[in-house]
């Protein structure tokens, strides 16, 4: 079973729903408010082994039944205001810490298996991902203006946005497949191909398997940003389908999933 945690309004989620149905993969969608606010679950550890389940509406799902999980959580959930503020904060962290542990215990592919920095919304997390990815690629990073984070690209990527105007080249990766966003320089693609092993290692180390890299190439290869929760709102349908199909192929152990 494929479990999608996110919103049907998210174009990437819709594509997962559509292609997984085509691939005859049983799929369940759960919205963030239900997942964090009302989904019953149990996770038990004995020594190094874990077991557990989720209770979806009308359905108990053992964690071992999951073939894949897609995490597209907007991170907007907050506990009921019926609690006082101190309890709201306590419950928020208890719930977040629980779901992180549960998802970490899964042995199936998780897109993306974010580190705790993401769950804690730590601002250093994306910077660390960018720095370590640049190291893996043997590339410099684009200097961020001053000490603030305001110069960082914000999603969603749109046609004609500031990055496109300034010649930034974007490349997606999904389950080890490289998918250029637009026409890319052959040098950039050759560089990524040459660094495939290091890129795969970075993906394995970080748990990030679906993401977009933005490069500046005017003065050597420089990584500007890595977006690990990229919006596909304005991306071409083919790119979206290819990204999802690659992820599904990994979840279904490479059975046929057509983009």
């Amino acid at each position: 079973m494929l479990l999608i945690c996110g919103s049907r309004d998210d174009r990437l989620v819709s594509e997962f729903l559509s292609l997984s149905t085509g691939a005859e993969l049983k799929t369940e969608l759960i919205e963030e408010t239900e997942l964090f606010g009302s989904c019953p679950f149990a996770l038990e550890r004995q020594g190094s082994s874990t077991q557990g389940f989720l209770d979806l509406p009308q359905l108990r799902v053992s964690l071992t039944e999951l073939q894949g999980v897609v995490l597209r959580l907007p991170r907007l959930w907050w506990p009921s205001v019926e609690f006082d503020l101190q309890d709201q904060m306590f419950v928020y962290h208890e719930v977040t810490a629980s779901w992180f542990a549960l998802i970490d215990s899964l042995t199936c592919p998780v897109v993306n298996r974010f580190g705790l920095g993401w769950w804690l919304q730590d601002l250093s997390y994306p910077l660390e991902l960018r720095d370590t990815l640049a190291l893996a690629l043997g590339a410099e990073t684009v200097e961020l203006a001053g000490a603030s984070l305001e110069s960082i690209r914000r999603w969603p990527a749109q046609p004609g946005d500031e990055n496109e105007r300034s010649g930034v080249m974007s490349v997606y990766r999904s389950a080890g497949v490289t998918i250029p966003r637009q026409e890319c320089s052959p040098d950039l693609l050759a560089h990524l191909k040459a660094r495939e092993a290091a890129l795969s290692q970075w993906e394995s180390d970080t748990g990030i398997t679906l993401y977009r890299m933005d490069f500046e190439t005017s003065d050597g290869l420089r990584l500007k940003w890595v977006d690990v929760q990229a919006s596909f709102s304005y991306e071409p349908k083919e790119l979206l389908s290819e990204s999802v199909a690659a992820a599904l192929r990994r979840m279904t152990l490479n059975s046929e999933v057509a983009a």
Binding site: P40, A42, R45, T50, A101, D104, S124
Partner: protein
């Protein structure tokens, strides 16, 4: 120079400041409770911290961090402190000098069941544990553990472990609102192992309560803490585990039952080592300062 990022209200502060002064090694402090005093700037790849006692020009060779925790939700306090800490965390990502401890490496105890998995994979014995928001599952676990269960928080938000007693059954109805961690109760002696680089201090604790911190902090009871020993393979594993997490300092809690079973409970990446030192007489703070001096680097991109 050693840079200390922290809070003058922190209980670690006076002892650490005392040891830094006694060491004779130059140091500077960023008191995050006085956030508006400081400015952090970046020029090319060089960071400069100025304000308070920082001049932005003395090279920083090692850093000690215990970020301040806001004791209020007032925006005029929280805002500047958060902004300063975010920027300091960028400095800590960038710096090439040793940092005790990098906040980006210190997340694992945010999720205690996750960290328990790391401890188990590192070879420690860990208690059987259930995290759930389902009352019937908690009850099943209770029965399977013959009614010998404690419950405690899942995250690192302060909470005390409590033995599950009959009067707690009626509280199971609240479980649906907030998942809880249930653990087989290993009754016995508490140990805290503080790791500082390749060194370790083992402290044995005795208190009236199942969670000795409750005795000390909530019930104002005195607890006994004394230097102790644990098997060398356990201590070595504690050192390796701390290093594997990317940390220099860690405080690992153990419990030893009467029949000699030793279980690891959790690792605190920002241990309040002065609490133990003040009772056991072990020179943990001095060891921290010695580490900062011995591993001090001369080539740096941080100036204060």
């Amino acid at each position: 120079m050693i840079l200390y990022l922290g809070s003058s209200r922190d209980r670690v502060f006076p002892r650490l400041m005392g040891e830094l002064e006694n060491s004779g090694h130059p140091f500077a402090l960023v008191d995050e409770d006085q956030a508006p005093k400081y400015a952090v700037t970046k020029e090319a790849k060089t960071w400069r911290i100025s304000g308070g006692g920082c001049e932005g020009r003395r090279p920083v060779g090692s850093i000690f961090v215990r970020h301040s925790v806001a004791r209020t939700l007032e925006p005029e306090v929280v805002g500047p402190m958060s902004q300063l800490q975010v920027t300091l965390n960028r400095v800590l990502l960038d710096t090439r000098c040793p940092v005790i401890n990098k906040p980006s490496r210190a997340f694992s105890n945010y999720s205690k069941p996750y960290q328990l998995g790391l401890l188990a994979r590192a070879g420690f014995d860990v208690p059987r544990t259930l995290v759930t928001n389902i009352a019937a599952e908690a009850r099943r676990f209770y029965d399977e553990c013959d009614g010998s269960v404690i419950f405690k928080g899942v995250s690192n938000v302060m909470s005390f472990a409590q033995v599950w007693k009959p009067q707690h059954f009626e509280r199971l109805r609240f479980l649906r609102d907030s998942p809880t961690q249930f653990q087989e109760f290993v009754e016995g002696v508490d140990y805290r192992v503080h790791v500082i680089g390749e060194k370790a201090f083992v402290t044995r604790l005795a208190a009236a309560n199942e969670d000795y911190r409750r005795s000390a902090l909530a019930d104002q009871e005195e607890i006994l803490a004394e230097p102790a020993e644990l098997p060398s393979d356990v201590v070595q594993r504690a050192i390796h585990f701390t290093r594997a997490l990317g940390l220099i300092v860690g405080g690992i809690d153990f419990k030893e039952s009467a029949n000699g079973r030793l279980v690891a409970l959790e690792l605190n990446p920002f241990p309040q080592f002065t609490f133990y030192e003040g009772r056991s007489g072990q020179r943990i703070t001095r060891s921290v300062v010695e580490y900062l001096i011995q591993h001090h680097v001369t080539e740096t991109n941080v100036f204060a």
